[in-house]
């Protein structure tokens, strides 16, 4: 018996040591290591809502248009130019001489196949909503495509940056299932190996049409635990991590091995006040009460002291990076006397008690602390909140959608990476949208006007009006635009990307 046990144990030990096979060293000169928190479920970007899918997609695929990270403007990529033939037709000219990783040349039929697949309701791809305004895609010649849209579609070009170009041949010959794990793109890297929940191994595309990446390989490692990511960064195992918590910035900067980089990101945070009465009759249906709430809080101090300056104050919910943002509008400034006066005028000389639905910091760093600070300021003016905390994002948004939120609740919005005022005004501020507790016909009209013209100047004017309207009406309690924090190894040059899409193909070694 003792012998059997010994033998068994030895076998277990040997087995456990021999089991894993492929040896991969720590960071090497030709290899860049990037860490993400959770793995993607598929390598078919239009079939996913995850940001990680978008990021991975950028490395292996190309888009028709791409954003210049320095200027923030959208410029050519696989498309070299685009123009309006009429109000509902866009004509796009494609780049010549581009090849997919499997060697087939990229042409107009790939664009058509990509969009036809995404727009087909039977395919159930999540990207369909992004392009629902496109009615048909026509091939004019090998390098020209025409898009017919359902009414004028000003976001057309902007949305092109969110759609990867897939191969018509692969779609036709290999089919949907195959595409889930086998990306065929035109991008700067090829996928060499995907070890699920572990890592993606990318190898440089030596035939890339654009600037070739400096690093030959990229390892995209899945490291769920933030503390482990930071440990890897400062011990030299990983080169780039994102979503560093504000209180960990010092650890990284003092390590001598890595540094932090921050960037404003396309997400605005605010507190919704239930003007529409979806949670039932409540004090915030009175404009004076909403203005009082905005006047009660010292938002600037909270940004400075509670989140280490990692926020950019906004006058409304429109992000400074979005098209149509009005820099001329000055945010509310704390004025407790005026706030109390307005409350008294609204019939609350002694203030009132109100429910406040809150959630955890999944997408907004420091949310619990900033929410406490805001609640404390509100109480000074007489708005006494009773917090109801729902930590998980799913159930929280569930309550909001089903009219079960409290008269106030925390909210932030990421614009689906569309840098346009419409992407928040329509989704979170017009009547009847699932996540909008504001309803004002006047604003709805402006938003629809903004959607129905292609004239950028005219649109900008409309959005200035819209922001003035929601500012004067104090639709929500406005907070700030978020800033993201990245951790970057000292052996490389890289900066935090403003669209939250990391691009390992722009990374270069650091000059000594």
């Amino acid at each position: 018996m003792a012998r059997v046990a010994t033998l068994g144990m030895t076998l277990l030990l040997v087995g456990s040591l021999l089991a894993p096979a492929d040896l991969l060293a720590q960071t090497k000169d030709d290899t860049l290591v990037y860490a993400i928190q959770s793995d993607v479920q598929t390598w078919d970007p239009p079939n996913s809502v995850l940001r990680e899918s978008i990021i991975l997609g950028y490395h292996v695929f190309d888009h028709l248009a791409a954003r210049d990270l320095k200027t923030g403007k959208v410029g050519p990529s696989l498309a070299v130019s685009w123009k309006n033939v009429d109000d509902t037709t866009w004509e796009v000219k494609l780049r010549k001489g581009v090849k997919f990783h499997d060697g087939t040349p990229f042409s107009a039929k790939d664009v058509k196949a990509t969009f036809d697949r995404v727009l087909d309701p039977a395919k159930k791809l999540t990207a369909r909503g992004n392009h629902a305004k496109i009615k048909t895609v026509e091939v004019v010649d090998d390098l020209t495509v025409r898009f017919k849209t359902d009414g004028p579609y000003p976001l057309f070009v902007e949305r092109l940056t969110a759609q990867v170009m897939q191969s018509e041949k692969a779609i036709r010959e290999k089919g949907h299932e195959w595409l889930q794990e086998n990306p065929v793109g035109t991008g700067p890297y090829k996928l060499t190996k995907w070890s699920k929940k572990q890592e993606h191994f990318l190898t440089r595309n030596e035939d890339y049409w654009g600037t070739k990446p400096h690093f030959k390989h990229v390892r995209i490692r899945i490291i769920p635990e933030q503390a482990t990511q930071i440990a890897e960064l400062i011990s030299g195992g990983v080169d780039v991590i994102k979503a560093v918590p504000p209180d960990q910035m010092d650890v990284i900067n003092k390590s001598g091995q890595a540094r932090t980089s921050t960037s404003p990101i396309l997400r605005t945070a605010f507190i919704q006040l239930d003007q529409a009465g979806r949670s039932g009759k409540n004090p915030f249906q009175d404009r004076k009460v909403r203005q009082a709430a905005n006047l009660a809080v010292d938002v600037d101090a909270i940004i400075k002291h509670v989140i280490n300056g990692l926020g950019d104050r906004t006058a409304t919910s429109v992000n400074p990076m979005a098209f149509g943002f009005d820099a001329g509008l000055k945010p509310y400034k704390q004025d407790l006397a005026q706030a109390k006066k307005l409350l008294a005028e609204a019939g609350f000389p002694n203030g009132f008690d109100v429910g406040f639905l809150t959630t955890g910091p999944t997408v907004e760093p420091g949310l619990i602390q900033t929410t406490e600070a805001i609640a404390a300021d509100l109480a000074k003016a007489g708005i006494r909140t009773k917090q109801r905390f729902i930590g998980e994002v799913g159930p929280f948004t569930n309550l909001v959608r089903d009219n079960k939120a409290d008269p106030m609740f925390t909210w932030s919005w990421g614009y689906y990476s569309v840098f346009d005022a419409d992407a928040i005004l329509f989704d979170v501020m017009t009547c009847g949208q699932p996540y909008s507790y504001y309803c004002n016909k006047e604003l709805d009209d402006l938003v629809i006007q903004g959607r129905s013209t292609l004239d950028a100047k005219r649109r900008a004017e409309i959005y200035v009006k819209a922001q003035k309207l929601i500012y004067d009406d104090a639709a929500y309690l406005y907070k700030w635009g978020l800033r993201g924090v990245w951790g970057i190894s000292n052996r490389i040059e890289y900066e935090a990307p403003r669209d939250e899409i990391d691009r390992m193909f722009v990374v270069t070694p650091r000059k000594k």
Binding site: S16, P20, T42, V49, R221, T228, D427
Partner: protein, 306 residues
Amino acid sequence: MRRYVVRQLVQVVVVVVGISLLAFAILHVLGDPVLLLLPQNAGIDEFERYRKLLGLDRPLYVQYWKFVSGAVQGDFGKSWYADTPAFKLVLERMPPTIYLTLSGLVVALLISLPLGILAALRRHSWVDSLCTAAAVAGQATPLFWLGIMLIIVFSVRLKLLPASGYGTWQNFLMPAFCLGAALAPITMRLVRSGVIEVMNMEFIKTARAKGLAEPRVVVKHAFRNACIPVITVLGLQFGQLLGGAIITETVFAWPGVATLTVDAIRNQDFPVVQCAVILLALLIVGVNLIVDLLVGFIDPRIRTGT
């Protein structure tokens, strides 16, 4: 012996059915998965369409029956996130977790057997007190904290081991130790009390009286008899070990089934959760069945029920 095995197998079926019911009920209490599947700006009709598509609009007993009838044929449905069968996803992730738990078990035994026997033989000495103190400290240490401390010491400071990852033997050391250290204290205490109890028995006196060397008395006679409770508890602790694997896998970025399950629960990916829970339950039940048989093999009194 055969009746014993049959009785155990019947129990297995009851346990697995019970677990599947529980998992099914808990998932449905958690809320609406469609909400997480669709983007925030999807319309109400879109939500309804998806609910119908996934069969979530049908009565619960219909959903459960569909699940059970598929499951017995190895078809747990497709993951709602990845367009892949849930069964395949879970099976792919199984080996890393099994390696991890087994090596945790080995580490636990390597620590607890020698220390437990030593503590028993030197009862009430400083060695015994030290072992007891270590066991209490070990029992009180959160796995999560231990993992991070190991990383800080061995990766960040000493730069000896990779902080996380999977694939080389270096990657194995810290997670296996971490998990093993969690299981070692209770095992050590059991070995100690088991050996102490056995050492006072008549047959030990006999062994000594017939002139056997002390090491042989301890290893061959005392330890073998002390093994029975230890093996039983190790079987029971196997579930705990899998629980610990969730934390260990998360800290060390280990691509196992435990993190897959947690992610699936968070995403409310019903097919994957169901499949993982059933397979893990089968694994635990299977290990315990083996333990029962093993104990029965070692100790004839147990299998005959006397």
